[in-house]
Symmetry: C2
Subunit: 344 residues, 2 copies
């Protein structure tokens, strides 16, 4: 404890001296962070270093000195003082109570995160990117373009339904069961994604019953769990991008590495886009948008217990209105360190 105080005192002296030097080089008393006498200032600094609850004020003091130091005209002076500043920062980082000392990282979450640079990947980990998005935010377009650019598979609800149907057909053929589903294979359109219209569920449900595994669940729930298995299985096999389906939460619960991204844009912007894409009036577009967003929100809450679209539930949220489709893809790639071209 006494040792720590001694160390803090030494650092405080250096900070005070740095401020004096910066002041001398800048040549204005307004450049000084500390205007009281040396003893008072050094004591205040030591207290800031020791009282961790107010430790962040030390950061502000230091920032003020370095902000000022950067304005020094003479290059040698500037370099010399910025070096001393860096050294002081390093000293402070070794204090047990320093600001920035307690990291925010959630080790469990970070381990699952494929953008985590310091993480050692196992050879068989795949890059799985889960994208949630609000209606009209062009999230699907960004996901599709990203998959195309990264040359990885792209899965959305229509494709999953198709995959499920085919697995079903395969299985039925193997068991010698025949079903009308097989005939409908190219009819992918499903208007009501969650509650009904899942042609695929017919056979699956029967199969689920056969397996005596998901007994007592609703059709939608059984399908969700079946899809969860499919997503986890794919994530062990290949790189891909998956749109929605709570894939991020499913993968996290199964301890499978992935990145979760949420794409949105301001309401007005999204309404305008839907109006243009679908040729609707403002009122129609706004109504459709709210309806579909609410549906997604309910689906997400039902299966994860979490708030859909809340920033804390994703690794990164992205405002597509700030960047547009093409550039969103570029920024996500750079962020994931997957950008192959040299940036402009």
């Amino acid at each position: 404890m006494k040792d720590n105080r001694k160390k803090c005192l030494a650092i405080a002296e250096r900070i005070y001296d740095l401020d004096v030097e910066v002041y001398r080089c800048v040549g204005s008393s307004l450049g000084r962070a500390f205007t009281s006498d040396r003893r008072t200032c050094v004591e205040n600094l030591v207290n800031l270093m020791i009282e961790s609850p107010k430790g962040h004020l030390l950061r502000s003091e230091l920032a003020m000195i370095s902000n000022m130091a950067r304005t020094i005209r003479k290059k040698e002076d500037r370099s010399r003082l910025m070096r001393e500043y860096d050294n002081i920062l390093k000293e402070i980082a070794t204090l047990p109570t320093s600001f920035g000392r307690v990291d925010i990282v959630n080790e469990k979450r970070a381990r699952l995160n494929t953008a985590n640079l310091h993480q050692k990947f196992k050879k068989d980990d795949h890059m799985v990117i889960c994208i949630g998005r609000t209606q009209g935010s062009a999230g699907n377009d960004i996901g599709f373009a990203l998959a195309d650019s990264l040359k990885v598979n792209y899965y959305d609800v229509e494709i999953f339904n198709e995959v499920l149907k085919r697995l079903e057909v395969e299985r039925e053929e193997a068991y010698g069961i025949h079903d009308h589903v097989a005939v409908d294979q190219n009819q992918v359109v499903m208007d009501n994604k969650y509650q009904k219209g899942f042609e695929a569920t017919h056979g699956i449900r029967r199969r689920l019953k056969e397996f005596n595994r998901y007994h007592g669940l609703t059709k939608a729930d059984a399908l969700f769990f079946y899809l969860s298995d499919l997503i986890c299985q794919k994530a062990r096999e290949e790189d891909f991008i998956v749109m929605g389906r709570c894939a991020d939460v499913i993968l996290a619960n199964n301890h499978i590495p992935h990145v979760s991204i949420f794409i949105t844009a301001p309401f007005e912007q999204r309404v305008n886009r839907i109006m243009e894409v679908q040729g609707l009036t403002y009122k129609q577009a706004a109504r459709q948008l709210k309806l579909l967003d609410k549906k997604h929100e309910r689906y997400f809450r039902h299966y994860t217990g979490l708030k859909w679209g809340a920033a804390e539930n994703y690794d990164i949220c992205f405002n597509s209105a700030s960047y547009g489709i093409e550039e969103s893809v570029e920024i996500i790639e750079r962020m994931l360190n997957q950008h192959l071209h040299t940036g402009s």
Copy 2:
């Protein structure tokens, strides 16, 4: 209109042929997207292309074909078919009603965005990064470390108060006015950031009255507008990082380019961090966190009319629990195309 249909028909034929080819190369009928007869399938595809509301289903169909094409073992076949796939995508992009045709970008917003790659910067535009953050998310630590890494100035509420105080002193000295504020210069601690405790406001307020400019406003409002001017002025002069203070909205309203980032982390994670940093119990930490978050929320809503922390109001939201302090800095730098080191 007829020309468009003809073009769609040509593309649909190519898609169907591609599917047949992919199927032949993969060697499984389950690889086929289309299982009905050629005429029916092509007609369906043309309709998908023309009916823009369901245009996104075309994207899913194409993704299914390309997902399958990527599994082709023979490299020459795979390259040949992926090239054809890329060419088809390019053809579709020229259709007036194609998916991805209507961008989501808000031109006004994008123009202000310094991460916007395609934007032509004027020589005198500066890189201003506005960071909002929830309590306990280590947002300040990330902002400070980012400023240090980018070698730009860092401003937070304490520094702004100090700057305001000094400007005040300068001005008073120029006018021959003396004030007790000048004596207090090194007392930076301000416990109640928004409502009271602004020693700086004393002289400023008087000055504001002198200028007869902000008459009728509350002290807090006058200070806010004064700070807004200061932020805009700085943004015209230098690169910097600014924490909170609604700086993003202020700059947007003044048409000054910037990037807005919001940093948060799950509640539990943040409470744990505050407990560790400040040596509080869970209950104390949770209470403090909620109180300060609410304060920030109110402040933001009061001055911007917007919801604090809602993803659509920022360019990017960031979950610090997924990355930790050091890596958050790296990812933000990469995203901004400011990362100098080669990625790991």
